[in-house]
Point group: D2
Chain length 342, copies 4
């Protein structure tokens, strides 16, 4: 269940509610939102909801059968808006994040940034810490990559996002970028989730490539329960028996997340397909399915990219994609090409 | 490789080409199309393509590295058009097939047919032979179901489609319906593929729920090589670890099929998701991804459906879906709501 | 539930029970076994088991929560014994089936048969009708293959098994071989299951490569409910994300089937792994897990096999395997190397 | 490729080899083993192996086509022996690790430890830091759990193992336990792999539940390349479409790892199946397949376990399992029940 406390609830009122829940065998996680404290509670039931709702300081009690509570849509209302400076994710305007898989150099990043910015992207992506399957693969420029990202962001007016892989890289990223990303392989790195939760930084939480939607929402619950409501989900393809595409993009998960959770959800058609010819159709499909945004790999010279060249769009192809997306976005009551206010 | 013979090629010229291929160790499958005989040939290579192209009666030789030949897009050109009476599948107009999972009664079928027809569906679906996992489940009305389907089709002007499960049911279906369907469980029932191939009847070939795109196209190759070019593919979800949806709709497979094959491809969002709330978003996404049509389950009273009620739309919801689809179709240069000529 | 009728139950007594079940909304399937008629019934419940058990001619009523009934172990007792001439499958002695993927020639088959027979195999396998993904692949010798199989079986004293792919091939196989096999791709070809059921012929039912254990047992239920109790299951690997092996051998399914069903279960380590180096370890593991037998591909010259050479053992390697298996079989209270009486 | 340096190779000789490799575009990882430095090198090839082998200080050069180098079996020889105090993992004697999923209390742990020790287990497992899908689930006793584990280990003479989930928990664990475990969800937490690598502590590396064998061996390569050769692999089931078991135990991966890598490999039949009835058959199968050991969950009162009760054996069932395993181990030339010297 979720217990929504009144904004004016006093500490001892909150304490009384929590004591009541503990006595009934519930485990709690809470987040202090703009509209007051929200307590998620999981247990074997048996508590009297009406009595609980009648306690001083309690606004209302919402039953939630799902194992996740704070991120569930049972609380009602619209998709939550995640604000990053002037950007609002989850509103009418779709958010498009673009950039190279890895930050490689000043020229590569600036060139890409200027072109994706002109085409309507509002956030620049670029990996500085790359989790690679092999220790022999390029591992990222690390701090140097963060510096380039921050500088290019400042120069172009783009917001910036980068993946963090542990607490040390998170600590660094906090000072350089506007959003952090938790990658697919770390979706159940619960310590990292909690650290990102404590940081309060807006975060893009990618779905683990073998995670169920339920596990994904529980991972988001870890972040929110650690104090950070600024969570944006991102579907990026799951691992199946099909090897003709790098992963299998699960767009029904996007629709399902919209039904089950109030968090905004984006789609990464680049990692999902691993094939630039499929990025356009899947980006269009994602928007039609109701996604709140896209994250797309763009590289000025994909053939020489240090990682994931096969799935990277050229800047020209990205411009064309953005134009294709506009009528599709309009068809579902959304807009693309600016990330402005609601 | 594919050897395209001239329309005027004489039998002995065809024979000479085939002999040459056999001598070089190739295995052949051929289909006689409107523009002449097309020979698909698979082997370990070594034959001189130029010499082959120079043989009398040969129009051209097209190298095809994929294991499927006749269905491959390497032959170039647009998506093939499959004609069913006045209906054209694969052109600008999207084809929408709708109807109940199973034919249950005259009233159920007629009611559904009239409503989906008014909303813009052009083909009526209804199962008469139901392949069910359990022998204790409803197995379909069989011939009685076919009779109802034919009668309701005639009355409403809708074309009709039903699933066939063996040669006997195919034999029956040929006289009652306009298209036959090969279901997911029979996608590699090669004897049935060949029988449908010999029949020449337009066929909707559903992807096996655990079939790769390559295996799916090879299944289509079996049909075409048996003499039937009227093949329409249909993605209906694959089996993965995710159980929150009935299957995982693989829309990247639609884009991939468009890249690799000239056959039209449709999408079944009902079986894919198993959840009527997700049918709309996935139908929109399918259209945006480039699908040539949709097959949607509609039942006048889903709560009492003899099969798959949870995923069936009410007629009212279907009307709303068709209206939602129009701007999405327009956004990708297509139209929906009529299945007319190109 | 399962209703076990007394051996001496009269037709009208059986009729009365069936009428009672129908009135209560149950769907029935029945098989006439050596110990009397057994009725499987599926429904929403509500019938009084005690009243049912008290009806004349009823021996006992066994509740079965699983969707399969006749094949469930809830009836109690040991693993069923399937008898094929002098061979008993499911008893203390493990049954080893060996032979080439496809029957290719008299010499190939006879050579293989003599060697596997000396090593302790009791059934000779050999495909005459090959379900191949591609129409360009070798499709089997068909009737000629059956003739060779029957002749070599007669000459060597080995029993014979071959795969059937439709009713026509089944019809032919019935007169030539001792067991028929339903392959992975046809596990849910329900018409074929029913035809094999009507034939009464001992059958090896391979698990579909993407079938759950429940679906597999329901497929067996189709056969038994059609009148054929002589069903032997065979695990042959499932399709997963792992591509280092051809399939993923699911040995826990063997243990699970033993827990849930009374049918004997064998294992095919050759198709499961696709790698002859892994056949030995997986054959040993299968025996240790409780399998009732093995089906192993053996070819006198694997490098020249018309199909599946990479996974075929040489006759010498098969001899070594049989020797390795003996102590493992003994360790779990079984014997290998003869297929004799219980 | 792998370059094996002579034990007596001098620093400048090593430097010259590394320089040569860098100039040729190779990326290197090296580990200092008992028999000298071993350099793994990955690149696009082109270097002259003979010239390299002729350089001063080089013992030999071994080509390795796999992406992992240092853990590959191409170096030849037997399975590596991992020594933990008096225990040798990878030799003739199988290593059995047993204990509860989570450390819950002194009584629970001591009771379990005494009983599994008497039955032949040599390492006590017990989770102190539990990575749980839900933030509402029991997360482990943390330091208190480590203290209990160390104390019970000292009292019973059992070695101890616990899972680490980040660098902080690793730091703590190093002082309390004899082996650390990297769990399935952290198999690609590369920072943690490197930290464990630097620690030199013997480590049990569980396979990610959706990791290919190749990715698993690359994860091991990260640890070895960070300086720690004491890596033991552990198969614990993969995620597939089958939900009748918790995971699908992939025993062919055990045989494949034995073929491809020199590292010892163990099996966890408890997490793999999630069903105590299947633990015995799968443990026997694992031993027959060639596993070097087992890790089994045992709880004195599975019905009250704070996690994973359904898959935990009672101490009595564990005693029976150990007895069953002995003849199976003997059948494949191994022994069980003591973890003594080679």
């Amino acid at each position: 269940m979720i217990v929504v406390m009144e904004l004016a609830a006093r500490a001892e009122q909150i304490g009384a509610v929590q004591q009541k829940l503990v006595q009934a065998g519930y485990v709690m996680q809470a987040v202090k939102g703009a509209r007051g404290l929200i307590i998620g509670a999981a247990g074997k039931g048996g508590i009297d909801h009406q009595a609980l709702a009648a306690m001083p300081g309690v606004d209302r009690v919402v039953p939630v059968r799902q194992p996740y509570k704070l991120v569930s849509r049972d609380l009602g209302g619209e998709t939550s808006l995640v604000k990053v400076k002037d950007l609002v994710i989850g509103g009418r305007d779709l958010t498009v994040i673009a950039g190279p898989c890895a930050v490689e150099s000043w020229e590569q990043l600036l060139d890409t940034a200027q072109q994706v910015s002109r085409a309507g992207a509002v956030v620049l992506r670029g990996g500085a810490f790359k989790p690679r399957s092999s220790p022999y693969s390029f591992q990222g420029l690390e701090v140097k990559g963060l510096e380039l990202l921050a500088a290019v962001g400042a120069l172009t007016g783009l917001l910036t996002i980068t993946e963090v892989v542990d607490e040390a890289s998170l600590e660094l990223a906090l000072t350089y970028v506007d959003l952090v990303q938790i990658g697919s392989r770390n979706m159940q790195n619960f310590r990292l989730l909690q650290a990102v939760g404590r940081s309060g930084k807006p975060v893009l939480l990618k779905r683990g490539f073998a995670a169920t939607v339920e596990e994904w929402l529980l991972a988001a619950e870890y972040i929110v329960a650690s104090g950070n409501e600024n969570v944006v989900l991102c579907e990026r393809g799951i691992r199946t028996f099909e090897i003709a595409t790098r992963n299998t993009l699960d767009l029904s998960a996007v629709a399902l997340v919209k039904k089950r959770s109030h968090l905004p959800v984006m789609v990464d058609p680049s990692h999902a397909t691993g094939d630039r010819d499929l990025v356009g159709p899947m980006a269009r499909a994602a928007v039609a399915a109701g996604a709140d945004g896209l994250i797309v790999e763009v590289h000025p010279d994909p053939g020489r990219a240090l990682c994931d060249g096969a799935q990277s769009l050229t800047p020209e192809a990205f411009v064309a994609l953005m134009q294709e997306l506009q009528p599709v976005a309009a068809a579902v009551g959304r807009a693309v090409g600016g990330g402005g206010a609601l």
